[in-house]
Structures are given as C-alpha cells and as structure tokens.
C-alpha cells in the first residue's frame, strides 16, 4: 500500500466479490490494490462461511447433475423475493453463472459432489471442496500470483468522492492513516450486519437480541459513506438473510454450526409458550429463509423448538446439546417458560394432529386440524419422553440495504446516472437482485457475477 502511487484500480473489501474483481482487473492489465479490513485469519468476509454457489446449467456440468435452466432459476428467485428484484440484472446474473464453475476452477477453486444432508442441492448448487474458506484461500493465492497488492487490517474511514467521481480513500492501517489514490474503485465491502449500532437504528432494541452468524468485520462503513455522498439507495434496511440459530451461539462468527433444523419435526413456541407460525409449511430452503425473521418478530426475539424422542437423530446434529426433560412441564421449567402454558399448547397441538403416514422427505399428509396456526405437514404428536428443547435466536447473515448498480456494475447516483469511476459488487449491491428472502448460493452467484463485471469494467475504464 503506497500513498505516493496512483493505482489503476482500488478494490475495497476482501471477500468473494472483491477477489473476483481484483483478479479480473489485474488479469486485464490494471495495477490493483485490495484493502481488506480483517486480519489474515479472518479475511474473506462472509465468503469464509459459504459453501456453494447457485449455478445455471443446460446439462450435467462438473459436479452439477441434470440441468438448471434460466427460467427455473428465475422463477425460484422470483418466488423468494416476491417480485422485489430487478429482472434485467437478475437474469443477467443467472446467465453469467453458467461460466462460474469453469472460471472459479481456473483460479484454484475445487468442487465436490454434495454428500450428506444437502443432496437435494446437487442439481442447483456447486459445492466448494472444503467450503468458503478454501475458496477464499484459493482466490488470495491466485490474486497474489497475478500481482494484486493486498493490504490487511486496512479499513476505509473516508472517501474523497464528489460529483460521482472517486479520487481517494482515507485508510486506517495498523495505527496509521494514509490516503490512497486510484483511477477507479470497486466497492465490495459487504453489508452492515455486524454494525450493532446501525442495526439498533433500524430494528430498535430488538437488535440487541440478534446474533450475527458471519464476519464481525462488515460494519457497513463504505456503504454509509457512499449513501451519504449521493449514491442511490436500494433495498430495505430491515431486510437481510436471517436464519433461526441456536440461542447459545456466539455473538459473531458462529457460522454454519449454529443452525438448528428441528423446526419441521416439532413445534416452535415463543416466550409465552404460544405457537406463532406453521412449522410444517415448507422444506428447508424456505424455512431457512424465513424463521430468523419470524423469531425476530416475537417478544424478546426468542423461540423454542420442542420435540420428543421420536425426532432425535432425524435432523442435522446441532453443535449444542438440547435441554432434556421427562415431561413437558419440567422442560418448560428448564427453559424458563410457564409450564402450564406450554403444557396447554402441546396438549392442544397433540389433539389437533390428524393421523397420517409420516415421511419427512416429502410433503406428507400429517397435519393438524382446528388450531391456529396450523401445522400443515410432518405433524406428529409430541408425547414420547424424553422431551427436548432448543432455544432459537435470529441469526443475521447479511443485509440487503445497498447501492444501486447497472448491468456494468457501475454505481448509480441519486440522479439515476452512473458514477464515473465507481463500481460495486457483492453484498453491497445484492439488494438490487435480492430485495427480500433468500436462495441458497445466490449470494456467491451475485458476488461472482458482479465482481467479475466490476473488475473488468474498472480496468476498461482505466486502460481504455
């Protein structure tokens, strides 16, 4: 990092999108400096916690089976976002994912066929061998080989950005403050999910009960600066990828192991021992996408999944042991709920369960009748001790508030004109495509598509 130099392309961020941009810009011949605010072991933002990328393909492709055509991908996206998406950018992203597996492999990323627990994704998602941190390591090695300059623990605290033109970034780096100049900048510095103050502004005191599944380094500093300096805002600040996770997970960085996927096997109650949503509505992808938010809307942002011994061992093993008791009343006492309320909820639920053949792999006909909310599939009575409970909290993964972009990854200003030399990629602009909801592997798909476009366009802007 040399304050006396004028870099061709400055990349802010150190995750998948930033790496794709840096590699692409450097491959095009531009001099590239990448600023990652995390230290080496935590580099890579939330990409460090990812596992796969959603990929369109016309036929079997590497580890991907069968075909996943554009239209189906688009319909999947349309369904989860409820239309809160930009069809032009979304379809462009989807089409570009066809090249991802090959491009990623050529930069050292390795893939594997999905094994246990995620087989149903073998058609739509390409899994990274070793997961996201292995991908991040491969990309950093590729970037270094190409001659991308990388500074760690380098946090951008201000931007010299006026009239849609970027000139320099003020960077705090291991106790010193320097100004770094560049002809173009790619912003790929993520959302604001680990900025607790900002979350509190958006969610109020409820935010104090959120756990942050991902990196503690996504403070949204660059996002805030850009919005303050005239970038067009996209997305709702309350929207993000939010999963129900074990309440005992660490405040930050707990990653994948904090998930508890027992919701569909039992019932979920709130602080008052009351059910509040259909636990059997849909399979994991949908559950995954909505339950964090559902719990965020409950009193004190906590929920409790209650199962009996019939369900033990039938879901991915959680890392924390459950609370266990011989009766529902005793279980309620252990998790701090009113025993009478929980006993009544379970009794009413058990009475409402209709007979049926339980099959967790399909939408079976095990459902309730006469209670609100109903449980529409996989409803079995909770009657065989021991009983178990896991406490759940909202586990925020990433936020969708971002800056507007066009198909060339140019950042859009409030006057709807693109900024001259600012390009955006990854979480910071994912809200253009993902207004709400979540689709497994879509974050990496957007980051890779826009990272490559942003890096290429930034280099073209500089080199002509």
């Amino acid at each position: 990092m040399d304050p006396s130099r004028l870099y061709d392309v400055l990349v802010l961020g150190g995750g998948n999108a930033a790496l794709c941009a840096a590699i692409t810009a450097r491959s095009a011949g531009a001099s590239v400096l990448m600023l990652e605010c995390a230290p080496v072991p935590y580099r890579g933002g939330n990409s460090r916690h990812t596992r796969n990328t959603r990929t369109m393909h016309a036929g079997p492709l590497g580890v991907l089976t069968d075909a996943y055509p554009e239209e189906e991908y688009w319909m999947d996206l349309l369904k989860v976002t409820g239309g809160q998406t930009n069809e032009h950018l979304a379809r462009m992203t989807i089409r570009q994912t066809q090249d991802h597996v090959g491009w990623m492999a050529s930069h050292g990323v390795r893939f594997q066929p999905p094994l246990s627990g995620t087989l149903h994704l073998s058609r739509t998602n390409a899994f990274f061998l070793g997961g996201g941190k292995a991908l991040v390591n491969a990309y950093y090695a590729a970037a270094e080989r190409l001659g991308v300059e990388i500074a760690y623990e380098a946090e951008v605290v201000d931007l010299d950005f006026a009239d849609g033109r970027f000139n320099a970034a003020t960077v705090e780096h291991r106790g010193t403050t320097v100004e770094i100049r560049a002809k173009a900048v790619v912003v790929a510095s993520g959302g604001f999910e680990s900025n607790l103050e900002w979350l509190r502004e958006v969610w109020g005191p409820a935010a104090d009960n959120f756990l942050i599944r991902g990196t503690p380094y996504n403070k949204g500093r660059v996002l805030k600066l850009l919005l303050a300096k005239g970038a067009k805002q996209v997305g709702d600040p309350t929207q993000g990828h939010c999963v129900a996770i074990d309440a005992r997970a660490p405040k930050f960085d707990g990653g994948i192991v904090t998930r508890v996927d027992a919701v569909s096997l039992g019932i979920v109650v709130n602080r008052h021992g009351q059910r509040f949503y259909d636990e059997g509505e849909d399979f994991w992808p949908k559950r995954y996408a909505i339950w964090g938010r559902l719990i965020a809307q409950q009193p004190e942002q906590i929920g409790y999944v209650i199962i009996d011994v019939k369900s033990m061992g039938k879901f991915m093993p959680p890392v924390f042991p459950p609370e266990k008791a011989g009766s529902i009343g005793e279980l309620a006492g252990k998790i701090g709920l009113d025993p009478a309320a929980l006993e009544q909820t379970v009794a009413r639920f058990n009475k409402a369960v209709r007979p049926g053949h339980f099959d967790h792999t399909i939408f079976d006909y095990c459902r309730t009748e006469g209670i609100t909310p109903p449980k529409t599939h996989w409803a079995r009575t909770i009657d065989t001790p021991p009983f178990f409970a896991y406490a759940l909290r909202p586990g925020l993964t990433f936020t969708y508030l971002g800056v507007g972009t066009d198909a060339k990854a140019r950042m859009i200003m409030q006057d709807d004109k693109p900024a001259a030399n600012v390009f955006a990629a990854g979480e910071i602009m994912a809200g253009n495509i993902l207004g709400k909801g979540y689709l497994a592997g879509i974050g990496m798909a957007i980051g890779t598509t826009f990272g490559r476009i942003a890096g290429g366009e930034a280099a073209r802007h500089v080199l002509g």
Binding site: L129, G131, G132, I256, K314
Partner: protein, 388 residues
Amino acid sequence: MSSVDLAPHAAAGATRTLPELIEEAQRVLAICNACRYCEGYCAVFPALQRRLAFEEGDVHYLANLCHNCGSCLYACQYAPPHEFQLNFPRLLAQVRAKTYRKYAWPGFLARLYDRNGVAVSLITAASLAFMLLFTAWVADPERLFRAYSLEQGSFYAVMPHDVMVALFGAVSAFVAGALAMSFVRFWRDLGERKRDFFSPLPAGDATGDALRLTYLDGGGEGCRYPDEKPSFARRNFHHLTFYGFMLCFAATATGTVYHYIFGRMAPYSFWSLPVLLGSVGGIGLLVGPVGLLWIKFLRDPDLADTRQTGMDAGFLVLLFLTSLTGLALLALREAEAMGVLLAVHLGTVLALFLTMPYGKFAHALYRFAALVRFHLEKRRPAPAVAAE
C-alpha cells in the same frame, strides 16, 4: 439462558491425558459434525458424519483414518484464532500417539512411546553393540577382518546362514506376535467382529487405499504438506519408502526361495533377482525417508505435533540406515570391511525389527485396520438425517 462454551475445556497444551484428549475430541467432533464442509477431503469426515455421539473407540478409529494432510485446517472457519479453537488434524495426531501407546503389547513396553526418539536410538545402539559382539563371538577375529571372494561364501564365512536365520526368525516371530496382539485389541475396541476384518470386498478396498495412499491427496489436488500449497511430495516420498521397503522384503523372500528351493547360496551376482530387488528397493528406502524427513522439518508448526518428531524421525532414520548399510555391504562384500559392515547392517535391521511394534511403524497397523473398518461401514446403511 444457559450459555454453553464451545471453546476448549482442558488446557490446550501438549500434555493432555487420554481422557482429556477424548473430551476435547468430543467437543471438536460435535462442531465438525454440525459443519461438514470438509466432507470431500478424506475418509475421516464421511466416517464421523455417520455418528451422532463419539465414544473413545470412535475417536481412536477416526484419528487413525487421518493422515494429517492439513487440508481441513486451512479450510476451517473455526481454526485459531476463532474462539472455537479448532485444530482437528493436530488433535487427531495427538490421539494417534495415545492409540500407539494404549494398544502396544506387551503393555509394559508401551513406555517406549514416552520418549520414543530416545528409546529407538538406545535400542539401535544396543542392537549394534550386540551384533558386533555376537558376530565377533560367532566368527573369531581372524575370520572377521578378512576379505572373501564370492566363491568363498562372503557373509556366511563370517556368520553361518543357520545362525542368521535362527536369530532373525526368533525376532520376527516376536514382532509379528506383538503386532498381532496390538491389532486384535484395537479391532476389538472398535466394536467390530474378528471375522469381518477378513470380508473380501472391504479388505480389498482398504488394501487398494493403502497401496495407493488414496487419502494422501487432499481431495484430489494434493496434501497441504509441508505447507498450505497443495503438493504430492508426501505421497510420493511415502510411496518410495513403502515400495522400497516392500522390494527389500521381496529381495529377502526371493533369497529364501533361492536358498531353500533351488539350493543356490548367497552371495548372489549383481544381476540376480534378490540383489536387483534389494538395490532398487534400497534406493527407494534412501530417498523416501530423506524426503519425508525433509518435508517434516518444513512442516507448518500449526499442524505438527512436535512431541512426535522423535518417534517419526527415529523410524525414518532407522529405515535410511538399514538401506544405507545394506547397500554399503553389497558394494564392499569382497572387501576386508565386510565382516564389520555385516554386523552393522544386521544390527540396524535388528533394531528396525525390534522397534516395529513400539515405534512409528505401528501406524501402518492401525491405519489399515481403520481403513477396513471404513469400508465395512460404507456397506452398512447410513443413519437417516433430515435434509437441510
């Protein structure tokens, strides 16, 4: 709400007892089992994913499936400095050290694993001293320091064939018995039936894995050994060592056939089968151990269990010396130094044999058992876990 600490309980130092290591392994395995990102790297992860709880036998089993290639540590989102402090490969290496100790037979000799580098060195010194004295006793000094032509019988002029066979036959029988006892006890603690070890298909698959070193490939791109850059160096050096060893073994076996079936006495000509096999194997057994030692000293300190360096180095140096003295004996078999060299070579081989059940060689036993178990399990139905 109760807060559960996923951080390590016991002191993370290198001096943990077996129960402390098992407890730490249970903590780590629960995290790995909930994550599963590493499932494509090797056999350890599919094996652990078949389980929801981990008893001591499971931990020994998984530890001995692990080749410490390091891929999973570099890929681990929970590796230090993360608060979960996961260092799965080093933990399994520490467990393996306990496996060797626990299953050594007879039990009182397990102490040889405490400071194995020292033990192997002392046993080597003692074996050399013994062989020199024994040779001097068998062959009086006048015969010991003379040069012999091949026609005069060379080695057997110094030490009669029958004496050599009697000595090494007895040692080999003891070593084979000790290794067999260790194996039987280990297999029993895995909870497997004796006869299942001999199931042809699993045993065949395990043999294939052992001969190819299937899991020394880091999921296809090479191990992260000695550092983060994927490389096949370790697998290649191990192949040189293993096949060098096997060729030397084949040389001995062919020599035995020549001797007893065809009545052709050693020494054999340079172009005879036993000498050719022994020479090629000997070269492998020089290059392989040197290579393995070399990359061991370059090993990323985060992955090395440095308390085992003495054991590893002791075994490798002994293999190297066996080959070196053997080749020197071949080159100088008509020189005056032959008598002493013969004693030195036989002393080294004696030390190698004696330390096999109490040194790094034992890894072959437990790894192979673990691989057979892995292939047995693969043929059993997996526990049904709801898809994510």
